[in-house]
């Protein structure tokens, strides 16, 4: 080994340590930002180390790629609004996975003849995971952005077709693994993996996106880790594994928060079949409330809990919500925000939106913390949330979402539900909360409802 190679290895070691430290510092909002500076430093060191130590002969492609990537990356970092964070994250999963897949194809082009069985196995794994995550994430991003319909796309025999595609993909992999000279199977595997990624995500509805996002995160990380095995590069293995495990832990958490298994999310096609569920209609009436009455109720309450859902994000109502909250606090009302783990379209989605609107994180409460407080809450304000407050999940064992832990707003003294219209919301499930005697409905766009409420509260 030459001196520059030692230097390169040293930067990789430093980068690995800094990455782990930075994730450790993620455990608290106070230290998280400093932690990220460490990770950035680690990344910078590893890039410099590679450029110095990797015997680079051609610079033009590298400089062009770094420049183009930096421009696009910086543009995204500056312009993407917080409400579009799920799409942005899905897109970055696609980019990361594509990079891993392409490096794999490149390795195959340049080193195929000298690969051992183990390296070829890792290579196949890398390319397969990378390719299917690329297209899967693109579909997810399209659904989140609204380019592709968010409803699950399903047809007869879908699982059978997917199984066939998956099996052919794996068999191509095995053939390529055993017979490296059968080049065509490598490319068949690559193509099938691209198709498989699409097929895997189109049947999944938008409401299940938190799980899908976490899973794709995990795959993208594991693809990077597999790249590390192929290139015999430890920092790639470490960073990829950290990413992979982070995604895996998040998927498990999200599934728990919905009381569903990962297989059920992937192959269940939730939200497509709703016919029999609606038969259980409680037949009650939804009572509408006027803005002034609602404002009066809020202004004279002691404790108010806001329960945001995806509707808050679509209406971009986070700032209006914070304004109303501050006005109430100025009147001496205790205001809290209750966050369900799967509210929104990705893990932590609601927290980020409310943070953007300057809601202090000490006012944000997790489900386990806030549920015991609902009985002593005067008004719970549900903003564009539906399934996460559906008491059927707790009370009706026949419900499609039976057993899913919910925010128990129905135990509050009164509930105001901000909703666009009388429809059933995304999952199509009937929500008995809306028919309860303590519940009143305030129809309209969440943003304008909230800012009108704020005005009315000022005049009380």
């Amino acid at each position: 080994m030459t001196l520059t190679s030692y230097f390169m290895e040293a930067t990789y070691l430093v980068a690995s340590i800094l990455f782990i430290l930075s994730l450790k510092m993620m455990s608290h909002p106070e230290t998280a930002r400093r932690g990220m500076f460490l990770a950035e430093g680690g990344m910078f060191a590893a890039i410099i180390g590679t450029l110095v130590g990797a015997h680079i002969v051609t610079w033009v492609w590298i400089i062009a790629g770094l420049a183009l990537g930096s421009i696009i990356g910086a543009w995204m970092a500056i312009t993407v609004p917080m409400t579009a964070m799920p799409q942005r994250t899905a897109l970055s999963h696609a980019f990361g996975a594509l990079a891993a897949a392409l490096v794999g194809v490149g390795e195959f082009l340049t080193h195929a003849s000298e690969m051992t069985v183990v390296t070829r196995g890792a290579l196949g794994f890398e390319v397969m995971l990378g390719a299917l995550t690329t297209t899967g994430s693109l579909i997810a991003a399209g659904k989140l952005q609204g380019i592709i319909a968010g409803k699950p796309v399903q047809f007869r025999g879908q699982n059978v077709i997917n199984l066939l595609i998956g099996l052919s993909m794996v068999s191509s992999f095995v053939i390529f693994w055993m017979h490296p000279e059968a080049v065509v199977f490598f490319y068949t595997m690559l193509g099938l993996a691209f198709v498989f990624g699409i097929m895997l995500v189109i049947p999944i509805g938008s409401a299940d996106m938190p799980v899908v996002m976490s899973l794709l995160n995990s795959y993208a990380g594991l693809a990077a880790a597999a790249t590390g095995f192929v290139l015999q590069n430890n920092v790639l293995i470490i960073a990829g594994t950290l990413d992979g495990f982070s995604g895996f832990i998040l998927s498990v958490l999200m599934c728990k928060a919905m009381n569903r298994s990962i297989t059920n999310v992937l192959f269940g096609g939730f939200g497509a079949v709703i016919a029999e569920a609606s038969a259980a209609n409680s037949g009650g009436v939804m009572r509408e409330i006027s803005l002034d009455d609602a404002a009066m109720q809020l202004a004279f309450a002691n404790r108010v809990v806001f329960v945001p859902g995806y509707g808050l994000a679509t209406a971009q109502a986070q700032h209006a919500c914070r304004e109303l909250g501050e006005l109430l606090e100025a009147r001496g009302v205790t205001v809290k925000y209750a966050i369900h783990p799967v509210a929104g379209r990705m893990p932590g989605h609601m927290n980020v939106l409310l943070a953007e609107a300057n809601v202090p994180y000490s006012s944000l409460y997790e489900m386990e913390q806030i549920n015991p407080e609902f009985p002593s809450t005067d008004v719970a304000v549900v903003i564009g949330a539906n399934d996460v407050v559906n008491p059927d999940a707790r009370d009706n064992p026949k419900s499609l979402i039976a057993g899913m832990p919910i925010l128990e707003v129905d135990r509050a003294k009164s509930v105001i539900v901000l909703k666009r219209g009388q429809g059933r919301g995304f999952s199509g499930l009937e929500n008995p909360l809306f028919f309860k005697s303590c519940t009143t409905m305030l129809y309209g766009d969440a943003k304008s409802s909230l800012s009108h409420l704020a005005q009315a509260v000022q005049h009380v």
Partner: protein
């Protein structure tokens, strides 16, 4: 890849998985979105593999141009993730941090 290297790699993988589990399960749900975008940026470390592909002399000379072009695309997408990922994570974490100061101002 000889067996010793493979075993060493598996060690690294297993230890990283263990450490990742320990570290990441301590991240509060509050920060799950920044966590996802941070780990994403960190896994943009596949950039270093892309750099080698885009710039180094491959063993098989006839594969040089395709390898460099694939490398160029990979460098681009990985850089987007690194720059964009760290940029956005910082933007989010800044929001979580600054609120502390704001609440202090309000309570005064």
């Amino acid at each position: 890849m000889n067996p010793a290297v493979l075993i060493a790699s598996v060690y690294v993988f297993a230890l990283a998985a263990f450490l990742g589990y320990q570290v990441i399960s301590r991240v509060p749900p509050l920060l799950h979105t920044p966590l996802m975008s941070a780990t994403n940026a960190i896994s943009g470390i596949s950039l270093i593999g892309s750099l080698v592909l885009a710039g180094a002399m491959p063993h098989e000379a006839k594969a040089q141009l395709p390898a460099h072009i694939l490398g160029f695309v990979a460098v681009t997408t990985a850089t987007v993730n690194v720059v964009g990922g760290f940029g956005i994570t910082d933007r989010m974490l800044k929001m979580f941090g600054k609120r502390k100061a704001d609440t202090k101002a309000v309570t005064k």
